[in-house]
Amino acid sequence: MSTTTVGIKLEEQFESEQQQRETAKLGMWTFLATELLLFSGMFISALVIRTLHPDSVTAVALHLKFWIGATNTAVLILSSFCMSVAIESSRLGLQRIMVRAMLLTAALGVLFMCLKGYEYYRDYVEHMTPFLHWRRYELVGDPASRLFTDLYFIITGLHAIHLTIGIGLMLVMSWLASRAGFLQKHQNRIEIVGLYWHFIDLIWMIVFPTLYLLNR
């Protein structure tokens, strides 16, 4: 197995490689903290609707595809593992294994999106899309359920946008990382992208119980 030297190209504003690595990670954590705040508002809204209208939420939850949600959680856990393999390989300079692990991570992300797309299709077929004014809403006699259903689409849609960005990043990074000399100059980029991917996984771990699981 061929290994390459690992490192990063020191930019002029940094004193050392370690400082550059720590600064990049701090920047990513700060960005992720703002992302967490963005999602938190929606999670709190979902919990408040659950508290105020438990029966309406249960009626909606019975229409949600619990097994698809659970399967998607497992898919993201597996994808996070693949990302960890990519990170560890990059630290050891194992370029080929790293690129393959990143491609597998992206493939699992695509599988997640396919399952999510099927779930949205089933919601459409079952008339669980209250924001589409030209279609009848299944729970039309229960206005509070509309709130929770809309929130379900907003939260899962926002997560799907983040995951799509993650898949794009993973593919671009795989392409860049497959070039000779990448790990000598930009190894920390793999770790930064890895943080983002783990965060997407973490957010879904909150989405699944909040929307699908609690008091369903």
Partner: protein, 92 residues
């Protein structure tokens, strides 16, 4: 696979197995214990899963103090938001 990579992958494999195990418990609770107090273990398991990803997979434990502070502040702010909001609605 090189032996040094096998050695390094022990923690990610253990993390994945723990997360899948916890997810299985949550799924079983979701299927067989639909109403009542099932939400308490479900929430506890979810928090455990979040902490596992945050501290082990995202390696927050090994970050420098300033980075750990930023991660802590983010989750601390969310905890305050959650606690105060739910305290209001649950005690009305």
């Amino acid at each position: 696979m090189p032996p040094e990579l096998k050695q390094k992958l022990r923690t990610p494999i253990a993390t994945m197995l723990v997360l899948l195990g916890l997810l299985s418990v949550n799924v079983i609770l979701g299927i067989y214990f639909i109403h009542g107090w099932a939400w308490i273990p479900e929430v506890l398991i979810t928090v455990t899963m979040i902490l596992t990803v945050l501290l082990v997979a995202m390696e927050a434990l090994h970050e420098p103090p300033l980075t750990r502070l930023f991660a802590f502040i983010g989750f601390c702010w969310v905890s305050i938001l959650l606690t105060l909001t739910m305290m209001d609605y649950l005690t009305r």
